[in-house]
Symmetry: D2
Subunit: 320 residues, 4 copies
């Protein structure tokens, strides 16, 4: 029987992680289960940096970006020695199960750890990349999209007033989710993503042709994994002789007050993760799919997520 | 065959309506279908206030609140005479189908009109109340929730600093959706909604008891259909002798830049409505349910929507 | 010589108070002066609720609304007994001077206390009402105005879309500052303030006349001290037969992340207050006037502040 | 006597320009003076792209970023031929005076044009760089600072959660105003500006030393004119072995809804410019200085503006 669990956040921070922490702690406490808050992700397990959390420990955090547990990448946890130390600390602290809040890198590590030490572990998908397979949305992605969209709205003011071309680089190393979402909702003229080949010559041809018809301002969104705003911007100017400016939103997209969707998801999945862990689930992530809570094997969650790229892209082009 | 359609917005405005208008116009135009924009809802049909819309007519509106077509309640459309005039104008302008963007009041009117005159009509659910049955979310509700949430976050600063009790009245005449969503995501201590009886004496008892334990600030969210902030605030002060302040968010929740979710929904449902109407659908609304586009009979859409009130309410109470 | 000072926040909270606290603490510490943080305003002095603050005590608060020291009204401090206890605690804790962050009510109390006990006290004006005489802006008023303005922008969307009249009640019991600022920057059609008589009949006459010319939407801003939105709204409907809606922004205006201006003012005045107190100033408030830091006697600061009401009002009317 | 004036926006766009346009048009109209709106800055004068503006022409723009008149750089206006054509169009359209909304580049051009053709011209300072001499604030700078500050707040969430160093590049080619304002109000640890030499080795020394004391996150703000975030970020990593990330805010700072301060300034200076022009003023800019409207010769306005760099910088360092 599970009497004490530990909760940690790993990988990049995402807005709504604090809401998830709050729900994990308060739902567990309401079921008389003790909670240890582990600091700095896997690093805290390896170095025994953790402390007991109660109802009050998570007051006032629901609307804060980032994570009060702090987070980070942890190469040591990929070594046998690191894992042994983490396991020893889990035993020492009488921890019966783990809740890991993070993205698919976190779930891969959690799965390997489970394989070896059989400590029950349930994952809560939180990542601004929305790259967890088998569930619809990760915690944080809605906030990141809204932040990027506010930036696009600002840029549109200048693009229209000065009749310029802008290339806006958004997050997404392997995945065009944010770029597609922002391009659609921002009314952007073009989007370049890792999952889809692009022809800059053809794009420049469109720009020049539109320019002759009187359309003077363009916003191109590019996912960081598909190209760099500075390079693309330069090339467009070379090919079209039109003034082009790059913008790199970068880590601005990662922080900020979580939106209602990101908080709601954090709270509900925090509750679901506690329920799953207490009912004996291990080696799985919880998430919403088609409006319902589902449990997905870590090995499934870390697969490449399929997006309906063409439908999405075509709608963007129809609407501009 | 449908060669020309008309689009109108009716009932209360909701953020994202302009995104829907944009998608309806541009998707129709891309399929060589003409579009008439009708002004002031049903009133514009009755009074022949409409004009041709092209691709450019909907430029620069994607991030604007309200509706460029304007909207309003229209009692005349409930009369036989009003309907006759509307139908005559539809004939006169060679309109083969209607797209009505609005809430369940709009769909009820659209259904009655279809019953009598058989003008094909497809509805796009837009309303900040999220009260359309058979679909998950109406256009605008995500924006309204985020607006109310920002207000709650502000109030929390004062509630904590001054150790006061606040009663915040949010929209929702028959439906506690916004109130529940805001109470959960805002970390509020209590929520009062039309769908669930409440016992103010018991609430005051909880407040006093918590006060003795050192919890000095409370935020109670009340849906306008379940009570008035001013009254409830007064009663709490009478029963507890603690200072209480009412806040009425009112129409602030209705406007503002649409969030990513509200824009995305507007754009995708605009496209879906055009597709449905052109493929012969009539007397139905389009919407997302479980992540997929569905078509729902108007007669179903206007039924009372069931919410999992108790699960929701219990989570709110567990988390505070 | 001053070796230890105490800092407290009193009266209503205002965004930027935390920035002021941060500057007071860090500037004092940088000059080797110790700081006691007093909780709950005068109440904390009376009840000896205070603790030593160091550089780290004020980390991460610069962008938070409210006040980490908490605040409140304190009738006990108006009694001789309350003051005696406060003075005893000041002696007991070896406090050589006070920095009081608050509005003119706070300065009045501070002045009376100084008169009797001669504990040097410097005030930092923080109040969303901007009602401190002799200085240009209080900390917090810029944030409150921007918050109210965002609400007005939202309401404008609906006012325009639904062609309605709105009466928006903003803060300001004795002072129309927020109302005037919001009405001007929000492009509102009319403003009702305590400092200026108004004739609702004449306003309704204007509304009807404009309505006949095709101007259908109006936003009237009313300062709470000059009338209640609900009443005025009802009367306008009675007199004009036009639909009118009231909105009460209330305490939403008080919280929220401080704007750049409110933070900047908090930080600079925090520094100035420490400098003044250490250089021997007492019984005065610091503030900016005409771009320069000035010291104003508490007795002057609490006088009625003169505003150029007519110039302001006329500009609002010219611009609508 | 002046019967007809023209208004144009030149140089980079700034939030609040639309408020200024609104005030110019409505104040002139209220004094029975006709207004021509000139499009695309000087280019519109050269190419006779202008049209009559009335009260209604400027409805609904007060809260919009950018400029409805559009803007841009115009090298042709530096040529004799360009100026001749502009002057010919001014004569042709019976324009008796110009109001130019822009920064010091705009005022330099306006001054040269006045010298040669003696067309009365009054400038309204609008620029996000706050680089106009003799006045306190340009229209737009408050909005730009708040936008950058919101980005810094977001980055702080990640900096704290992941314990990283960030280098954030803000606007400011010759002027550190935005960088200093953002660094102070954002609680940033360091700021690099064109007006002040910096020693990256010393900064890295501080970072490492603080790191040993447990301070893990830093935000360095750099004005674009003083260095590039990408380069500085790389060098810090080389010198300290600590992970560092660059962020380039770029044109996001230029757009967006104007803040209350930017709107207020736009409206009041719009009024002042009309008053000055009608009273016979020429070759001057209007602005606020020490809380009062002043008129500044264009030749003074374009001088290098002095900032109290050291005081500002020292306060930033004291407070971190």
């Amino acid at each position: 029987m599970i009497k004490r669990i530990a909760v940690l956040t790993t990988g990049g921070d995402a807005p709504g992680m604090n809401a998830a922490i709050r729900a994990v702690v308060r739902c567990a406490v309401s079921k008389k289960v003790e909670v240890m808050g582990v600091f700095r992700g896997w690093w805290g397990l390896i170095n025994d940096e953790m402390k007991p959390f109660d109802h009050r420990s998570v007051s006032g955090i629901i609307n804060q970006g980032g994570t009060i547990l702090k987070t980070g990448r942890c190469p040591e946890f990929k070594t046998r020695e690191g894992q042994e130390r983490a396991f020893a600390n889990i035993k020492k602290n009488n921890i019966d199960g783990l809740i890991v809040i993070g993205g698919n890198g976190s779930f891969e590590a959690a799965h390997l750890f489970y394989e070896r030490y059989k400590v029950p572990c349930v994952g809560i998908p939180a990542s601004i990349d929305n790259d967890v397979n088998g569930i619809d949305y990760t915690i944080g992605v809605d906030t990141a999209i809204n932040t990027a969209l506010a930036a696009i709205d600002n840029i549109r003011d200048t693009a229209t007033s000065m009749e310029r071309i802008f290339v806006v680089e958004v997050m997404g190393r392997d995945c065009g989710f944010i770029a597609l979402a922002v391009a659609l909702a921002g009314g952007c003229e073009e989007v370049i993503i890792p999952e889809r080949k692009f022809d800059l010559g053809a794009i420049c041809h469109d720009i020049v042709e539109a320019n002759l018809r009187g359309k003077m301002s363009w916003i191109l969104v590019v996912a960081e994994g598909a190209g760099q705003a500075v390079d693309i911007s330069k090339k467009i100017t070379e090919m079209t002789s039109l003034e082009t400016r790059p913008v790199i939103l970068g880590h601005v997209q990662r922080g900020g007050r979580p939106t209602a969707v990101s908080r709601d998801l954090g709270l509900r999945l925090g509750q679901a993760a506690v329920d799953s862990l207490l009912s004996g689930v291990a080696d799985k992530a919880v998430g919403f799919h088609g409006g319902k809570v589902v449990e997905v094997d870590f090995t499934t969650a870390i697969q490449k997520k399929e997006l309906k790229i063409d439908t999405w892209y075509n709608l963007i082009k129809t609407l501009t």
